[in-house]
């Protein structure tokens, strides 16, 4: 088995640590430069998850916290896509976790006191493991926009938080998925921490009519790309070093 490193992270594609218009970053951003490592076994390995770790209902946010026979309130959606690497290969059997506000923009969290009501049938989290083609899906309701104090009148665009592992700790990624057509995307200081328009566009899920369930749920497609891996062109060279 080849055990080469992952491509170095393109730091110009990610937000920098210090983004003054997202105020909380100002005092939480390291000021010294990161130290760049050659990867060792500590970086090319990472936790492995299996179907024993989760339950099939976990990816259905409409029902995974609802009372029997009831369901979450809101616009029913399917969020689906593939986890790929930078080489375009699927990343199978990897854990994808999601969390979000309810349809009114309220999180089920001790520290969320927004006046929109909690939905008794909606927890707001889900998880799944990609299949052999890197495919995943969640059934959920479209989250609502919510206000937050950054400037005094900021509103987060509707979004789902996503956490992905890949096969190595160096691929670990948390991001947010937005929805096509939302005018709040362009105004959001957190979205705008991303330095390129192309990068922002890659976080916007596309309305996917082909994947809708007629008379049931609308669908959005969201592919996630993790770091890709070098192949060892000169494998013999260092063998036994």
């Amino acid at each position: 088995m080849s055990q080469a490193e992952f491509y170095q992270r393109d730091r110009e594609r990610h937000p920098p640590a210090l983004t003054p218009d997202y105020k909380t970053s100002v005092m939480r951003s390291p000021r010294a430069a990161l130290i760049s490592l050659q990867q060792s076994v500590s970086e090319i390995t990472g936790p492995v998850f299996g179907h024993n770790d989760i339950d099939p209902i976990d990816n259905d946010l409409i029902h995974n916290y609802a009372k029997d026979g009831e369901s979450a309130i809101g616009e029913r959606i399917i969020m689906h896509g593939r986890v790929l690497d930078e080489n375009g290969r699927p990343v199978p059997n990897t854990l994808v976790e999601a969390w979000q506000a309810n349809a009114g923009g309220r999180y089920r969290h001790k520290k969320d006191t927004y006046l929109a009501p909690v939905d008794p049938n909606f927890g707001g989290c889900g998880r799944t493991i990609t299949d052999e083609n890197g495919y995943y899906f969640f059934r959920t309701v479209k989250p609502g926009a919510y206000p937050w104090r950054n400037w005094v009148n900021n509103w987060r665009p509707a979004h789902i938080h996503l956490s992905v592992f890949g096969t190595s700790f160096s691929q670990r990624l948390i991001t947010q998925c937005y929805f096509e057509g939302d005018p709040l995307i362009a105004k959001c200081p957190i979205v705008k921490t991303i330095p390129t328009q192309d990068g922002i566009d890659s976080l916007v899920a596309a309305l996917d009519l082909n994947a809708t369930v007629p008379l049931d749920s609308i669908a959005y497609k969201f592919d996630i790309v993790l770091r890709g891996r070098r192949s060892t062109l000169f494998e013999n060279r260092l063998e036994g070093n």
Binding site: H14, T24, H161, I174
Partner: protein, 230 residues
């Protein structure tokens, strides 16, 4: 014009936000939804080696605790083996080596129980690197030293996310009772500024017969923890 390279580009990171617990530790958010939350048992019941506890606090640039932080840990077992197919060797049944750590929301203090990892083979098994025997890391003023094929001192890899952290921060925790191994560690030696190296070294003490290591993480300013681009 030239041909197009058909690589995809990595999905950009976004902050985990203040409500990361809903997704990754819903019990802490205040509700019970899954049969089991992941990341609470790092070493499992069968792991060999010394049982330890690690505690600390994450401190922001104003000197205050970061109370909404979430840390993930990744470590080898006492034999220096990771629970992953690309790490040579076996781990004990139930040893995962990965954990999720959250804070007390009032104080920002966090802690986790595990076993102390063993030394880990460095880059020996990676089939890439300079063609000729390289300078030792840190010897070359343009950074061209290779991190080499020495064992790495025992360490725990940490990944830190929170509101206001736009992309997860990677660092490593080393142990102060491993001074000899630390002195030879290729990653610690890569840090040109000797006075920054101690930011990665946890301090051992005993409390009620238990071994406790203290590891505070400073995000910014004086004594800023070394973070890595891995």
């Amino acid at each position: 014009m030239v041909q197009k390279l058909d690589y995809l580009k990595e999905t950009p990171s976004q902050t985990a936000g203040p409500y990361v617990h809903i997704g990754l530790a819903p019990g802490a958010a205040g509700f019970d939804i899954y049969r089991q939350e992941l990341g609470w048992d790092i070493a499992g019941p069968n792991a060999k080696g010394e049982r330890i506890r690690v505690e600390g606090i994450v401190i922001d640039g104003t000197g205050n605790p970061v109370k909404d932080v979430l840390i993930e840990t990744w470590q080898a077992n006492a034999d220096g083996v990771y629970a992953h197919p690309e790490s040579e060797g076996e781990v004990e049944e139930g040893f995962r080596g990965w954990g999720r750590v959250i804070t007390d929301f009032e104080t920002g203090e966090w802690g986790f129980d595990t076993v102390k990892p063993g030394p880990v083979k460095a880059r020996k098994s990676l089939g890439t690197g300079p063609l000729h025997p390289p300078a030792h890391a840190g010897d070359d003023w343009l950074g061209r030293g290779d991190e080499g094929h020495e064992d790495m001192a025992p360490h725990i890899n940490l990944w830190i996310v929170a509101r206001g952290i736009n992309i997860g921060l990677n660092t490593r925790l080393y142990f102060d009772d491993e001074a000899e191994a630390n002195a030879k560690d290729p990653v610690l030696n890569l840090i040109e500024w000797h006075n920054r190296r101690p930011t990665l070294i946890a301090k051992r003490s005993e409390r009620d017969g238990k071994v406790v290591y203290r590891f505070d993480i400073r995000l910014q300013g004086e004594g800023e923890t070394v973070f890595f681009d891995v």
